[in-house]
Amino acid sequence: MTVMEIKSFSSSFVKGVVLAVATVALVGGSAFSAAGNVENGAKVYMKKCWWCHGEEGEADGPAAEFMMPPPRDFSAGVYKYKTSPPDAEIPRDEDLFVMISNGMPGTSMPSWKEVLSEQERWDLVAYIKTFTDMFEDMDNPPALSLAGKIPSTPDSITKGAKAYEAGKCFECHGERGKGNTQKKLKEGSGAKLWPRNLTKQWTFRAGTTPENLFARVTNGIPNTPMPAFAAETTANGKLSVEDRWHVVNYVMSLADPTNQVSQGQIVIKGVQRPAIPADEKDAVWDGVEATTFRLAPQIIQKERFFTPANDLISVKAVFTDKDIAFLLQWDDRTQSIPGEEKSGTLAWGPLGHDAVAIQTPVTPSGSSEKPYFGHGDGKNPVSMLYWKSQSATDPAGSMLMTATGNHKREMGDAESIGFTTSSSYEFGTWKVMMKRSLVSPNTEKDTQFVVGKYIPVAFANWDGSNGEAGSKHTMTTWYWLLLKPAPSNDVVVIPAMIFALLFFGQYAFSRFAGDKKNKA
């Protein structure tokens, strides 16, 4: 080749490359990643991100110590959620981009796509990759192959259940997927970690599609005990591509759409029955509607608590002429039995009791003034029904209390209202029934439950294996309890009367006006 020819060749080669890159950019859109501007990324990072992830990306920002899970440490270069092939050491740029854009449900990482432009998010991807040398001289890996996807069928779900057992998934996620682990789990950093409750898919961090779950099972979750089932090297063994798709279908089938907050529902509707259910397992409860509320940690009064494990509580209520019973149900990964060895091995912090409490105002007053929702106040006391689980030496216990503010509690006379409880813990779920009389002889310190009246009600929950005791617990805000009165006859009689009035009224009008017209 002559010099001219070489020049001409290289020029057309460059043109070709430019064309190819442009085509990829148009088709894939992901070529943006190459265009991420590190300098601009740094600016956005120092405004929005460093508060948790730290100035040098070391997960040591001012907020980091209050978080579970902890913020991602970019300097370590370990990313939990990657869709690159199992043998790739690094995640794809798109994984980082999706994480920034969508956030991670159930963690402190919010979705940034409402706030940052697409370009700004790619700039951030480029910048956070500079905190580690992991990405140096590495090409963006291709996407994990999703070939061999198996549609969900009863047969596939059955096979998935077998693979779930073979892969020992139940050891951490529980026999029914409630995350009731047999082992104490830790982040790579040694930080507290609880396995995912597979029935609450709204807490899945990186998507809930079968493809998302396939990537999780295949690659595992680096920096956690979740193994990569594509690899031979883990203690859980390897699962074939086929088995992994079956497991995905099985896990998808575990989703419990009722295991989330009852959207827009803030009234627990108590229903009348001839008798109070015998215990928490009585079949009567099956026919009663549950209302599910969000539990948030007590971050309001001293001592504040930031790292809860339980996030929901479901409530049902049944009443008779004399008594009322509540069924409280919540998923808890551990049965906390103080003094028992196995419970001790799972606990973070001092092992306490699991416990639950119902709070109602001593004087419910409809929509007007209520007691302060955190244990009432001097003007408006609250009454509390409290239950705690058994210890190695003592059976489960219960208490009736009155409170007039934080740490201002006194014991009530539980016998005077016939307060009893029964409870059981099975497959990662607590069920506690509380029963008491509707009326109480102590009108100054205890709630009177009146049928047809809206009664404010709030709940508190303690997970004894999660370091929760005293003021460190989860809670709800005020909601409502309504003991539904029997329907009145007016509902039928009044519309029927209106119908008759209008029906015959029209004929009367027709005759009257017709007569008049004829006379005229």
Partner: protein, 259 residues
């Protein structure tokens, strides 16, 4: 079908009614993010009444219009040959009346409405850190310190991320990790309806005395806002206020002195 002619004004009334009921809140939600106040039912009923009267006036304004729209009613009720259609009409009107009355008497299990003033008038004086502050004349002492402004904003940010962000969120949108556990939901600082229309002294009072410091029209028993003067120093509160305005780009409302 002359007899169907009255359906035209009825259709117009219905369209205007739905424009009022659904269209206005939808338009509002497009103009402004967040909750949009619904129109009170009593006001809606008044408007619908006037719309109906107006539409009927227009359609019956001329003699011909009157005959065309009212004529079919006379036909139904007065013509002895229209027995079947008279019966159908009587049943339909009766059913409509029964349905309306049922809506009034049927049992509802909706929660009682709780009215709440979001930005109540502050008291003239507030007690925090064992001192009494005059909210009307109070100023942020750090606002004029230009030399240390950036450092104070950053320090305020640290206070925010160690104490406030669990509810008010990373994005200042009131959607921190635990925002959905509390009622009322945490304030959205980006929204033009919160700190953008408040003075720094008001924000100082709200932070310092928290939920329990609210007057009763603002439902102090519901608010999850902690009483921050029990946790933070006075200076930390002023710093976090600097940070909130700096981050969101809003300016605090300035109260003009009285002359």
């Amino acid at each position: 079908m002359k007899i169907l002619r009255p359906l035209i004004p009825l259709t117009v009334i219905l369209i205007l009614y739905f424009a009022l009921k659904e269209g206005v809140p939808y338009l509002g939600s497009q103009l402004h993010e967040g909750t949009w106040p619904v129109i009170p039912t009593s006001v809606m009923k008044m408007y619908v009444f006037f719309i109906a009267v107006g539409v009927l006036l227009i359609f019956t304004f001329t003699d011909d219009g009157f005959k065309a729209n009212i004529g079919p009613f006379a036909e139904i009720y007065l013509n002895p040959d229209r027995k079947i259609i008279r019966f159908v009409s009587a049943v339909l009107v009766g059913c409509f009346g029964a349905w309306v009355s049922y809506q009034y008497v049927k049992p509802t299990f909706d929660a009682p409405v709780e009215l709440r003033s979001i930005h109540p008038a502050p008291p003239s004086n507030a007690k925090m850190w064992g001192k009494t502050y005059s909210i009307g004349t109070l100023k942020n002492p750090l606002r004029e310190d230009k030399e240390n402004f950036a450092a104070n904003v950053k320090a305020g940010g640290e206070v925010y991320y160690k104490n406030c962000f669990y509810c008010h969120g990373d994005r200042m949108l009131g959607k921190g990790p635990f925002w959905d556990g509390f009622t009322p939901v945490p304030a959205n600082f980006v929204d033009i309806g919160t700190i953008a229309q408040l003075s720094e002294s008001f924000v100082f009072w709200r932070i310092g005395t928290g939920g329990p410091g609210l007057p009763s029209e603002a439902t102090p028993w519901l608010s999850a806002m902690p009483v921050w003067h029990e946790f933070l120093s006075e200076e930390e509160v002023w710093k976090v206020i600097l940070f909130l305005y700096d981050y969101t780009g809003h300016s605090p409302r300035v109260i003009e002195p009285h002359h």
